[in-house]
């Protein structure tokens, strides 16, 4: 009987998480041309509709996750899943401390940790294409990447933030999907980030594509438009999946597969 109740409670909790999460916004599917030539020719990539967290995961939200999943406390997690700097700025394993705003995006989390958080709310990390597609929008346009004034603003904000703790999430205006902080607050983990740097069906292991991305593509994009994106890719390229960084956070996505809305 007790097991019965437990099952019911768990099922309800699970359903609640899946269907009633105000943190997510719908991103209508479509196709776009990625700034990175990951798959050879620069052709439009189809992106199915998905739901994405409106902001990066905050310190407060991550703290709640660590409380519920103590195996992800910094004093318990195996080094294989999160390196030495994991949540290192926190005052204690369950205490961010007074120096950290709970509404800041959580950083110093590994790719493994970010994935575990997302799995805990029936979600996952976005793919690079999903992230880039969602980040291309501004308040009115689905693809505002060609707007030089916008790119200058993004670059300016990135320069201003250098060397500082990230500000609270959600302070900037949302893009047309209702997503905040996509380009300017922190770098964000993507699920397939490590594979952005390997060759198709690679014979040589390691980071065969890196030169192509950071050399060839950067030259091919010798305008400022792609520069913030190149910075982001370079930041990700430097990371192993257990590594952490003070300006690398994450947000999660869920598949919804709703079609394009014009």
């Amino acid at each position: 009987m007790r097991a019965c109740v437990l099952t019911l409670v768990l099922t309800l909790a699970w359903c609640g998480q899946v269907f009633a999460d105000a943190n997510y916004r719908q991103v209508a599917g479509g196709s776009f041309v990625s700034a990175l030539s990951l798959d050879g020719a620069r052709v439009p990539v189809p992106v199915a509709g998905f739901a994405m967290r409106s902001t990066p995961v905050t310190v407060a939200q991550y703290l709640a996750f660590v409380r519920a999943h103590p195996e992800w406390r910094r004093d318990r997690v195996p080094g294989m899943y999160a390196g030495g700097g994991y949540l290192a700025s926190w005052a204690g394993p369950l205490l961010p401390g007074p120096a950290i705003d709970p509404q800041q995006p959580v950083t110093e989390v590994s790719w493994f940790a970010a994935r575990a958080f997302c799995a805990g709310e029936a979600a996952r990390l976005p793919t690079w294409y999903q992230w880039e597609y969602a980040a291309a929008a501004d308040a009115s346009r689905r693809d505002a990447r060609g707007d030089p004034a916008r790119q200058t603003r993004i670059l300016q904000k990135l320069l201003e933030r250098t060397g500082r703790a990230p500000a609270a999430v959600g302070e900037g205006s949302a893009n047309r999907y209702g997503l905040h902080d996509m380009n300017t607050l922190v770098w964000e983990w993507v699920d397939d980030y490590a594979a952005m740097f390997v060759n198709a069906d690679a014979r040589d292991p390691g980071q065969g594509n890196l030169l192509k991305l950071c050399g060839g593509s950067a030259l091919a994009f010798a305008n400022r438009a792609a520069y913030p994106l190149m910075m982001r890719v370079a930041a990700l390229a430097a990371m192993k999946p257990a590594d952490v960084s003070g300006n690398l956070g994450f947000r999660c996505v869920r598949d919804t597969n709703r079609g394009e809305t014009p």
Binding site: M1, R2, A3, C4, L6, T7, L10, T11, A13, W14, L38, D39, V45, P46, H69, E71, R76, V77, P78, G79, M80, Y81, W111, F112, R115, A116, A119, G120, A122, T127, W128, D191, D192, A194, A195, M196, F197, V198, N199, A200, D201, A202, R203, D204, P205, G206, G208, N209, P241
Partner: protein
């Protein structure tokens, strides 16, 4: 009845918390077997990563429709095992090849790949992930992959020697002539 419900509750919990879980306490902190993963091999036999404990193992990741790198990987592992057996006079560690394409890599597709390469269970197990986080497991091995729009995968190659507890003892990405350092490490493991 109660037991069955408890089991259901446990299943729900594991489906709910998903992906990376700290394994049982007995596994070392740096064991790749800590990633909870259930697989099924080319003979249809299910097994968990943790069940592979107890002896050294050669592990790599493949997908059956792969035209180029994966066949080369299989042949490279054959050459490594032959070199080890010539050198030590003992059986080389068995092999588990984990697919990162569970949608297309059915038991049948894996059986066909095994027969094409003339490799057999239980020494060679080609396995599809059925439950758990295969991308996290891949990452612990240093393998990354992404599906391209044409259905191929971009991925890198790693042939990894695991010790009896699933700790990474050696690794190579060489699929041409056997990597002599790696052969020496595998020989060392085989001779123990």
């Amino acid at each position: 009845m109660i037991r069955r419900l408890t089991l259901l509750a446990l299943l729900l919990i594991s489906a709910w918390t998903g992906t990376v879980q700290a394994g049982p306490a007995a596994l070392p902190a740096d064991s790749v077997y800590r990633t909870a993963l259930t697989l099924r091999d080319q003979t249809g036999l299910p097994f968990t990563l943790e069940s592979l404990r107890g002896h050294p193992l050669l592990v790599s990741m493949i997908y059956a429709s792969c035209k180029d790198a994966c066949p080369m990987t299989v042949e490279a592992i054959k050459r490594i095992r032959t070199a080890v057996e010539d050198r030590t006079g003992r059986a080389a560690p068995p092999v588990v090849l984990v697919s990162f394409d569970p949608v297309r890599d059915t038991v049948g597709a894996l059986a066909m790949m095994a027969s094409m390469h003339r490799v057999e269970a239980p020494t060679w197990r080609l396995a599809r992930p059925e439950q758990g986080d295969v991308r996290a497991f891949a990452a612990t091995l240093g393998v990354s992959y992404r599906m391209r729009p044409n259905g191929d995968f971009s991925h890198n190659i790693a042939i990894v020697l695991l010790d009896a507890d699933g700790r990474i003892a050696a690794r190579t990405g060489e699929v041409g002539a056997p990597d002599s350092g790696f052969v020496a490490q595998v020989s060392h493991a085989a001779a123990r």
